[in-house]
Symmetry: C2
Subunit: 322 residues, 2 copies
């Protein structure tokens, strides 16, 4: 493949989304250059747009690409997903296989690393995962958020058939409900949107739109509401000695009544990115209906319209295709 | 022993502390009647005085007594401490040996159960623990709060020599620091009062009064500040994948920035009462200097003055003796 000298890429700065021509990035040793096949707009991207983390640059961290240049010839031409935390591989975190917490890390499209809303993107070879043929390119965009959903099961050991309440019916809530259901847990998903909960229902997941919710009942509650009230509600629904998993990134301070946390001795677990391997295996198994979460597809050149659509209340996953 | 028909008892109502003459309580089957030898005023008692939980009645839950009547003759004359959660012994919590979380429980001197700031008190026989001769009556008053300190070690498995930051140098903070230190952990206690931290220092515990504290450093941080800011500070000092233990009961809502909890995947564990057996063993071992926490001793009849003294900023443990 003859590589071009320049590429199109999305640029975010102070709320403005533009598509720019940029030089093709120079590939450092250890990195692979990927041609982006498809990418997804995540809530984090919308937060970057709103100016959180003082971000300015190329966003995008959910993507599938094809390797066009790499040190290891075997990667050439492979369809891949890439883990988004680029670690130093020399600190104590990295040596403990917790590269995702490496204090020296950059994060693709989020922290000091140009992202995947572009025709080409750089990713360290050690972060690459081949996408198996059973997974379509569109579905494979969900590997990264599904890995974040599966992270819960890496952090907390939950016995099969255990009741788990999932709060929220947005993109992440829907993936979490499906992932936990696929792992044999008894998921009850609570949300306000009957149409979105239909996606979970179609997978055999119990859903509930009532605002009159059981108190102190569930041994595990996942807050994926994305709202400041979600944590309070999750705590109220959790039974004594139970565990609340925090998946909602909310900006600013969230009010929490610590009295029930202490009196009922609850455990609260913050949960972020996860390993890609379990997510890839789960998608390949056909037990996750990621395609049902796709709400629209835009060309990379239409990124401003794509961001606008993604920001509309209730929109599920918007894909970008270079 | 010929029992009197009436007794003196402390009564709390809407902030007013009074000493009243009350009928001796009638002993139900399964309960022991104890003559109170000594009791301690806890921060919770001061909160009850301030009207939290809408409490009105006889407070007191840290105490040592002598059994004067019981179904089991072997208890007669024994010096005892009593676990404060009176459980139903028939629900699923009780069957799982988590009587402290029994939803039908009453709580001595706190919830629907007259407390120990009285000449006599009723306690179920199954809640009694004999106080070994090595433990003085004054020290034995600390069994209940020390059990709350030891509860941390029942909830969280911490390897010996692991660094643990304890925030707060109040009564509970001092007991927690001593308990964790006695268990071989590397405790660093942070507080504002050099005089109180001297107690910990005397036990060989590392202390620190600086407000310039390490960020993201400790794998375990215990918040025993009793302040709304404590949780935020504990989260800031905890390293990625670390655990924050919540021991501060603060009323109303506490602001928390959930972003670092999620990004660093912290675990927050609420912690309340504990089993008495480990606390008794620890006191009997002589490795806890509970007596150094005693700030004063009052007769039961002087309870109003005792409460006033206990409420003064910086006062450690005030004892009441009938």
């Amino acid at each position: 493949m003859n590589l071009p000298l320049a590429m199109q890429a999305v640029h975010l700065n102070q709320g403005r989304v533009s598509v720019r021509t940029m030089p093709l990035p120079a590939r450092p040793a250890g990195y692979a250059l990927l041609r982006v096949l498809c990418a997804g707009i995540c809530s984090t991207d919308l937060e970057l747009q709103r100016g959180y983390y003082g971000f300015a640059g190329v966003p995008g961290h959910e993507f599938v690409g094809e390797v066009v240049e790499s040190d290891t010839p075997a990667w050439h031409g492979k369809r891949v997903a890439g883990e988004i935390n680029f670690a130093c591989h020399s600190c104590s975190w990295c040596r403990s296989e917790l590269e995702r917490h490496c204090p020296n890390r950059t994060v693709l499209g989020i922290v000091n690393q140009p992202g995947a809303f572009a025709e080409f993107v750089l990713v360290p070879e050690s972060n690459l995962h081949e996408v198996p043929g059973e997974i379509s390119t569109e579905q494979a965009v969900f590997i990264e958020p599904l890995a974040a959903a599966c992270e819960i099961l890496d952090q907390v050991t939950i016995e099969p058939k255990t009741p788990v309440a999932v709060l929220g019916d947005g993109k992440l809530g829907l993936l979490i409900a499906q992932a936990l259901h696929a792992h044999g847990l008894h998921v009850v998903q609570y949300g306000r949107h009957a149409d979105k909960l239909e996606i979970s229902k179609g997978q055999g997941i119990e859903t509930n739109t009532s605002s009159d919710r059981p108190r102190k009942e569930f041994p595990y509650v996942v807050d994926a509401t994305g709202s400041a009230e979600g944590l309070k509600e999750a705590v109220a629904m959790c039974r004594p000695r139970g565990t609340v998993i925090l998946k909602s990134t909310v900006h600013g301070e969230v009010p929490i009544d610590t009295a029930p946390v202490i009196v009922d001795e609850l455990t609260l677990v913050g949960s972020r990115c996860g390993r890609f391997a379990p997510a890839i295996a789960l998608l390949a198994s056909g037990r996750i209906r990621a395609d049902s979460l796709i709400a629209g597809e835009f060309a990379l050149s239409e990124a401003p319209a794509a961001f606008q659509k993604a920001a509309e209340k209730g929109t599920l996953k918007i894909l970008l295709k270079p």
